[in-house]
Structure formats: structure tokens, C-alpha cells
């Protein structure tokens, strides 16, 4: 038995990464960022509003949360639609009641299909983050380049038709190709949220900023994947906030706590109370700055010019 000798060759064994996308950096040794008002932790509420077409495209892959049964999967189609009809308004109300403005990462199809929801997001003062076309708009390196560009350019054009110019981008399932970051810049996006590799924003070599939407802390991961329940989710986020605030105080350097909220998950009647209690806990700490992703990126970039 022997492997092809090329498998033992490693030309990119070198200082830094085996890729050229961005540079390595130790968060604990960076120039510090200071959040407004002396806050220790920038808390980024990011509601993710998704439209799952009844027929999955399965190209290049089926997104998490997509249809699961044979056609027609009314069960999951309607259970996801519940999020955009009911659940998201509970989330918007929870934020509004506490004077919190955050981000809503929307498939542009959601905004087109539900103008009243778009109006409510605008009325709440929330930032719109582009989240592809719909949940069939997934990207990876197996997708032909022209199809990927059509998704990114089409998302931009359709938001423009609605009078919006989002600067931030979230990919379906955070999945990118080798081309994505360059295409995002070319189509007017200044930041993306896909790479979960840091607890602060950081800049890529091509100039785009990545604002990490840590998947480990998402309601989908903790409640749906690990089945921990919403009370445990709130406890885990509360523990994260406490750790980040303590670390920020010790190092004199701000930290980021992303709060990914999925309307059909955390917006259910028996779960949304956990979110409300969590928001109250975070507010009562007195060291959290609640802000939209774009505001966090702007504050960071002002202090860390490229």
C-alpha cells in the first residue's frame, strides 16, 4: 500500500496561512478597539429572514432549514413561513421595547413578498443586510462563476428596486466560493459576515471587512442542532457576554457578541421569553453596546483604518 507521492508534498507550508485571503492575527495582541460609551461588548442582534421556495434547487446544495419531505413539503414550507408572518414580529417587538436597533439579514425575496415586513424593519430603524436572493441562492465553488455573479448582482439590483443599498452581506449557510469576496466588493458590499473565525471584525487583503457571525452561538446551532433548548441558549449567550466583558476589561479592548436570531426558531411562543430575558440581562450588565452590524463595522474601521 502506498499513497501517491504528491500527497506528501506541501508547497504552502510557510509563515501564515496556506491561503492568501487574509492575514493571521492574534486577537489578544492587536491594537485595541474602544466601543462607544466605554462599552466592553458590542452586541450585534442579527435577525435572519429567509424564504424557502417549495421546490429546492439543490444547486449547489440544499440550505439548512430547507424542505425535507417529498414534494410538496407543506409541513416545512409553512413552518418556515411562520417565521416571517408571526415570529419575526415578536423579535422586532422585543428589540423595540428595549430601544435596540440591530440588523435584519433578509433574502431579498422576503422583502419583495412581504412589503409590510420590510416596512416594519424600516420603521424599527434596523439595518438591512443582503442575504442572497432566497434560500435557493446558495453559493460554493462548484457553482459556475456566471451563476454566482447572477446571485450577487441580482440581489443588489432587486434591493435597489426596493430603494435599499445594503452594505453588508450574509451568504446562504455562510457558504462561499473562492470568488465570493471579490464579487461582493465589485457589487458594492463593504463587509460580509460569513467567516466565523474571530471575535472582532477584521480586514481581508482585498479590502473587504469580515464581521464574524459566530455560528456556534446561533439559535439554530444551540437550539436546533445541539437540542439544548432556549433557556440553555440564553444561559450560554449570557456566559459568553460575561466572559467577553471580563476579557475586554482586562485587555482594554472591545469584543463582539453576535446574536443570530432565526424567526421560526427563537420566535416561537414558548421560546421568545428566553430572548426577552436575555436582552434584559444583557442590558442590565451596563457594559453592552447594542448595534447594527454596519455600525459596528464603521466604528471598528474608523479606529482601524486599512
Amino acid at each position: 500500500m502506498t499513497l501517491d507521492p504528491s500527497y506528501l508534498e506541501y508547497p504552502r507550508r510557510r509563515l501564515g496561512y496556506d491561503h492568501d485571503l487574509y492575514d493571521w492575527s492574534n486577537i489578544h495582541a492587536r491594537g485595541p478597539v474602544a466601543w462607544p460609551g466605554g462599552a466592553k461588548v458590542a452586541v450585534w442582534p442579527c435577525i435572519v429572514a429567509e424564504f424557502f421556495p417549495l421546490t429546492p434547487a439543490d444547486r449547489p446544495f440544499r440550505a439548512p432549514g430547507h424542505m425535507q419531505t417529498a414534494f410538496p413539503d407543506y409541513r416545512h414550507y409553512t413552518a418556515r413561513d411562520y417565521g416571517n408572518r408571526v415570529g419575526i414580529f415578536r423579535l422586532l417587538d422585543a428589540l423595540e421595547a428595549r430601544g435596540i436597533r440591530g440588523s435584519v439579514a433578509m433574502n431579498v425575496a422576503v422583502a419583495e413578498r412581504a412589503p409590510a415586513l420590510l416596512a416594519a424593519v424600516r420603521a424599527g430603524g434596523h439595518e438591512i443586510v443582503a442575504h442572497a436572493t432566497d434560500m435557493n441562492g446558495a453559493i460554493d465553488s462548484s457553482l459556475p462563476a456566471e451563476e454566482e455573479e447572477a446571485i450577487i448582482a441580482g440581489t443588489r439590483a432587486r434591493w435597489q428596486a426596493l430603494g435599499e443599498e445594503p452594505r453588508g452581506w450574509l451568504s446562504v449557510a455562510r457558504s462561499q466560493s473562492w470568488r465570493t469576496a471579490d464579487l461582493l466588493l465589485a457589487h458594492g458590499f463593504a463587509w460580509m459576515a460569513d467567516w466565523p473565525n474571530d471575535d472582532l471584525p477584521y480586514r481581508w487583503r482585498n479590502g473587504i471587512i469580515n464581521l464574524p457571525l459566530n455560528h456556534e452561538l446561533s439559535d439554530r446551532q444551540i437550539i436546533n442542532v445541539t437540542q439544548a433548548g432556549s433557556d440553555s441558549w440564553a444561559e450560554q449567550i449570557g456566559d459568553a457576554a460575561a466572559w467577553l466583558a471580563d476579557e475586554a476589561a482586562r485587555q482594554g479592548a472591545g469584543r463582539l457578541l453576535p446574536l443570530q436570531l432565526t424567526p421560526y426558531i427563537i420566535g416561537l411562543p414558548y421560546r421568545v421569553g428566553a430572548l426577552e430575558r436575555l436582552l434584559d440581562l444583557l442590558r442590565s450588565r451596563g457594559d453592552c453596546w447594542f448595534a447594527a452590524g454596519g455600525a459596528i463595522v464603521a466604528e471598528w474601521a474608523r479606529q482601524q483604518p486599512g
Binding site: 500527497y7 491561503h19 460569513d194 452561538l217
Partner: protein, 295 residues
């Protein structure tokens, strides 16, 4: 093949008791995996490195978090309560992120090899190919830290039937690849004996969080129960508890706080011998005679 014929069967009840220094009942060692995952590794015929087409943004980005953020949280917690690390090292980390290796060395941690990267697998390697990654490991760690490695945990737990023979041939003392016991055991090879030191799959943070889907506090409680049982049983013959860690898991902000309390608990208990892997192996070798060399 029915039996890899690595070690003799020895029932838990009928052993001469092991004695740890200072009358401790449980030798506790912490094994941080300091790993490098390539974003775009070459394909291996037996195993895909990433679930998604490259770049696997979440798969890679998650591991990268450990090397940008999590390592120092994990390391500080260990240092605060007097736990040295015995590092399972992707030796190419010495090239990619030497600051992390230097931090571990400065804390007095011991290094053993976990292969070149965690995205290059040993399955199907010829003996000469496997010799080459063992030799690379010894030379790379020596050049980066001055330490001569004594142990092995196969890259991503990928082995060949020659692995144990080749580790002994290279003069290594211990393997972390075998999960058959709560005490060290001798492994017979064609090139003389090796010691298998208990590592752990079951209380590995990877299993805790990725396989069993534990919450951070549930994982902490699991480690304390594991320790309490092994420390109690160790009164009639020393046991070993390993805590294998990955900074990208335990170093997340929602996990490191509860984990810190585990280290506080064990350090304060009084029955733990907090040690490096090599020290535990040496204590075992001094107390239990080795087996015959395999034909």
C-alpha cells in the same frame, strides 16, 4: 485481521497497584490539540478533509478561531491553575503560526506529534511515507522548540497497521492512539515496547460538543464526574484522566468560563497528580516491566 495484537488482556481487578507521586490517586494531564487545518488540502482517497467544496468557510473558519482567539483563553486557564499542557501538535503549526507554538513552549508545555497538519491523513501510507512524517515531526519540533518529542497521536486519528512499529523504531516512548484502558499499558511492537497512555475520546471536548452536543456547563459537569470517579478508584491503584482539548471548541466565549471551574476543582482536590504525559509514562515504566518484542 481479527485482532491488531497490540497489547495483552489485563482485567481491571487483578493488577499490581500503580503508585503516583505524593500519594495522588489520579494522574491528570491536559492535552491541548494545537492544530493546523489547510483550507485547500490535496484529496486523500479514503477521507475528505472538508464536508463542503473548498473553501469550507465554516469548517475552516471554526478551526481558525482557535488559532486567532481561543488558544490564549485555554492556555491562560490552564496556567492559572497549574496545569501544564502536553501538546498534540500539527507540526506545521511551527511554520504557519509560530507564535502559538512559542507561547506553549514558554509555558513549559510538552510537545508530541499529531502529524504534519490535521488535513493530511496516514491511511494507505507506505512504511517509508509514514517514517517520513515521523522524522519530519521530530526534526520540526526540535528546530522550533528544542524539545525531542516522545509521543504520537496520529494525524486526525488516521493509522496504518505499521504505525506502532514505526513509532518504536523511531525511538518514541508513548502513543495516545489507543482507548482501551484507564491506566497506561504496554504495547508490543516489532521494534520494542511503547507505552499507551490513556487519552480520551469520551471526555474529549470534540466528543462533548460535536458528538454528544453538550452544553458548556454539562461538559464541565462531565469532566468533574469523570475525575471524581477516577480519583476514588485510584485509591486502590493509580488511574489516569486525560482532558483532550481544542481551542476552537473550549476557547469559545460561552465555554471557557465553565471549563475554568473544572480546573479549579481538580487543582484544589488534593488527589490529583497534575502532570505531563511523559512524566506519567516514566512513572509507569519504572513500575511495570515491559513485554517481549513481537516477532
Amino acid at each position: 485481521m481479527d485482532d491488531p495484537d497490540l497489547y495483552a488482556y489485563r482485567p481491571w481487578r487483578e493488577r499490581a497497584p500503580l503508585r503516583w507521586p505524593g500519594g495522588a490517586t489520579c494522574a491528570v494531564w491536559v492535552a491541548p490539540n494545537l492544530e493546523y487545518y489547510e483550507l485547500d488540502p490535496p484529496p486523500h482517497p479514503k477521507r475528505r478533509a472538508w464536508a463542503r467544496p473548498h473553501p469550507d468557510v465554516v469548517g475552516f473558519g471554526h478551526r481558525d478561531h482557535g488559532n486567532r482567539v481561543g488558544h490564549w483563553r485555554m492556555a491562560e486557564a490552564m496556567s492559572a491553575f497549574g496545569f501544564p499542557g502536553s501538546v498534540s501538535l500539527s507540526v506545521a503549526l511551527c511554520q504557519h503560526h509560530p507564535e502559538i507554538v512559542a507561547d506553549a513552549a514558554a509555558r513549559g508545555w510538552e510537545f508530541f506529534s499529531h502529524g504534519i497538519t490535521n488535513t493530511r491523513y496516514a491511511y494507505d501510507m507506505s512504511p517509508d511515507q509514514e517514517r517520513a512524517i515521523i522524522r519530519d515531526s521530530v526534526e520540526t519540533v526540535k528546530a522550533a522548540t528544542g524539545q525531542t518529542i516522545r509521543g504520537w497521536l496520529a494525524p486526525a486519528l488516521t493509522h496504518t497497521v505499521n504505525t506502532m512499529d514505526l513509532l518504536a523504531e523511531a525511538g518514541l516512548a508513548y502513543t495516545c492512539d489507543l482507548y482501551h484502558d484507564d491506566q497506561p499499558t504496554w504495547v508490543s511492537t516489532r521494534n520494542g515496547p511503547l507505552v499507551a497512555i490513556p487519552y480520551s475520546l469520551e471526555v474529549n471536548d470534540h466528543y462533548g460538543f460535536f458528538v454528544y452536543n453538550m452544553s458548556p456547563r454539562a461538559y464541565a459537569e462531565t469532566l468533574i464526574r469523570q475525575y471524581e470517579r477516577l480519583a476514588a478508584e485510584g485509591a486502590s491503584g493509580g488511574t489516569v484522566m486525560c482532558i483532550p482539548l481544542h481551542a476552537y471548541l473550549i476557547g469559545q466565549a460561552h465555554r471557557i468560563g465553565p471549563f475554568r471551574e473544572v480546573l479549579r476543582h481538580i487543582a484544589a482536590d488534593g488527589r490529583a497528580w497534575i502532570a505531563r504525559a511523559g512524566e506519567i509514562v516514566d512513572q509507569f515504566r519504572a513500575q511495570v516491566p515491559p513485554p517481549e518484542t513481537r516477532p
